[in-house]
């Protein structure tokens, strides 16, 4: 167990380092550099040389990478070339927004998908199961940029139930914050519900064929008790693995939703930084995203060992 977790930890660090190197190379090799956005109309070759020298961008790439890595190990992600805002500050203000979107949308997705799968998997291909399965196909076909404008059109523009855009931090006004975040979260929830429901349902159906379920049935346990206490736990592998990847993709991946609802999350910050060649901001956010992704999937792997101790002995 200890060795298993240690090995996974080393792998995580390696993956994060490789990803930061890739992100670093990719953004630096792009045509253009931050001097264009910084100088604006004063963009002359002389001025550009001064700016690049000042920012340390005239050094060889590998040196720049190690300077950045050294800073990172000392707890600094540098600052934006354009606004001079520390990258840690940008992350600290945007990350909670993404986190809140993820928590609300995923909690909703699990709250719908799990009970629905537990009910329908018992009697596959009956009316309710068909309805739920077809319904989730509908949800899968609703990408955020289709569902978000529709939600805005109906609930914000039409019914005036919610504001179309805007964001108030949770710490300032919790009620307003939750109210404002509901529509954006709903836009993200749709696809997640469909994925989680379908995976859990098909795993539950497979589990219900197993001998230990027959055993539980012959003991005279109620179908409800069998579902909740016997079938559910061993059927959650695909669900957890999919949730790990799905949530990992949502961090800084909700750009379209952030854009449509005018919320300044990580996704929007990342996209703007790439366009402005704000290297340090891109690098900083990429690290956060990569760490979040691998830690999340590490936790999922750890949960596997909790659900089924045989996993760690592989």
């Amino acid at each position: 167990m200890g060795r298993y977790l240690l090995r996974r930890l080393v792998q995580m660090v390696v993956v994060v380092v490789i990803i930061t190197i890739f992100a670093f190379l990719l953004i630096h090799l792009l045509p253009g550099d931050p001097s264009v956005s910084i100088l604006g109309p004063n963009d002359t070759p002389q001025n550009r040389a001064i700016v690049l020298e000042h920012l340390g961008l005239n050094k060889p790439l590998w040196q720049q990478y190690f300077i950045w890595l050294n800073q990172l190990l000392h707890g600094s992600l540098g600052q934006s070339y354009l606004t001079k805002e520390p990258v840690t500050h940008i992350v600290a203000t945007s990350f909670p927004i993404d986190l809140e979107l993820i928590i609300i949308s995923q909690a909703l997705a699990f709250a719908v998908a799990i009970p629905l799968a537990l009910v329908t998997a018992r009697r596959p291909n009956r009316a309710l199961d068909r309805l739920a399965t077809t319904g989730t196909f509908g949800l899968l076909a609703l990408p955020p940029f289709v569902i978000a404008p529709l939600l805005v059109a109906v609930f914000a523009v039409g019914l005036h139930w919610f504001p179309a855009t805007g964001y108030v931090p949770f710490t300032q006004a919790p009620a307003t914050n939750l109210h404002d975040m509901l529509l954006p979260s709903l836009a993200i929830t749709a696809g997640s519900i469909a994925i989680y429901y379908r995976l859990l349902r098909s795993d539950l159906i497979a589990t219900l064929q197993e001998d230990f379920i027959t055993m539980a049935r012959s003991k005279g346990l109620t179908p409800r008790s069998i579902m909740v206490h016997h079938a559910f736990r061993p059927s959650t592998f695909s669900l957890l693995a999919a949730a790990g990847l799905n949530i990992g993709l949502l961090i800084a991946g909700t750009f379209v939703v952030e854009y449509l609802f005018a919320i300044n999350g990580l996704g929007l910050a990342l996209v703007n930084a790439v366009y402005q060649r704000d290297y340090l901001v891109v690098q900083g956010i990429t690290v956060v995203v990569a760490v979040f992704f691998v830690v999340l999937n590490f936790l999922v792997d750890f949960l596997f060992t909790v659900i089924d101790p045989r996993v760690s002995r592989e």
């Binding site: 996974r8 792998q11 993956v15 490789i18 990803i19 890739f22 992100a23 045509p31 596959p124 291909n125 077809t134 196909f137 509908g138 899968l140 076909a141 609703l142 990408p143 940029f145 289709v146 404008p149 529709l150 805005v152 059109a153 523009v157 696809g191 994925i195 995976l199 098909s202 795993d203 159906i205 497979a206 589990t207 064929q209 197993e210 592998f237 695909s238 957890l240 693995a241 999919a242 790990g244 990847l245 799905n246 990992g248 993709l249 800084a252 991946g253 750009f255 379209v256 449509l260 990342l270 996209v271 790439v274 891109v282 990429t286 990569a290 691998v294 999937n297 792997d301 089924d308 592989e314």
Partner: protein
Amino acid sequence: MPDDRDVLGPETGPGLLGNTYVGEAAATEVAVSRSIDHHGPDEPLAEKKLGVLFWIAVGWVALVALAAIFANVLPLHSPTYEDFTAINARPSAQFLLGTDDNGRDLLSRLIFGARVSLVIGFVSVAVGLAIGGTLGLISGYRGGKLDSFLNAASFVVLAFPLIVALIAIISFWTPPTLFKITVILAAGTIPLFYRVVRATTLAFANRDFVIAARTLGATNRRIIFREILPNVVPAAISFALITVAIVIVLEGTLAFLGLSVSLPTPSWGNMIYQGTTNGDLTTNPYIMLWPALAMFLLLLAINIIGDRVRQRFDIREGLL
């Protein structure tokens, strides 16, 4: 992380993979590898008939495809002609679906836009499947250093923030055209197909019939093409259909970054984007509504077809 996926049960068939979405293919591999003792098909009561819904779905995809192919000869307004006397016109006999804020016919833009979605969706997936699938087949069958390297590489690529990669590559290669976007998205699907085909290949590489063929002196080429490939194809096809839907959605996402085909050339993605900017959602919801509806129905149809194909193949596999 990658080495946890090496042990795969024989049932890494299309069953679980068929249900997946974007990166979940990799996730399901992990899950499948850990649920080796889950025997039996995932839907024991699966229907044998394809059903009415399947044919309606096929009909819709065919209709969209035909409209897109024959867009030039259909009696349509030009998709880029701006009629300033009919700005934001409501649906009428002259403009069946209305016009946009530049007076362009929405029906015509919808049909020409379908070209972009269909070409990007199907061509990039076909290319990605051919390259990623071949790599997965060789990597899964041969094993060894090549396999370890490709496997680790594909994992790193999948963990990399997708949007950064897309913006970076497309900014490199401006202006975005249908051809370039198709090439880039095809490249993006390679690691997905690589993982799915590799996983399925691993599941079959040491099955009795393969060992029997090898014992009988069959060449590697024969084993790959005659023994393994026929078993890998169903999983690959049903995953490919889901990937088509994913890639069509990606085009829409790119449009929101201004990185899909440039205006005034229509695509469903840039129509939806156009319909949600500058208060268009309140003044003229139709700009966004029609492409959103068309995309919803197309994605729904593709998902339904993918699901039915998967169920079909599960049964065939069960008969083997």
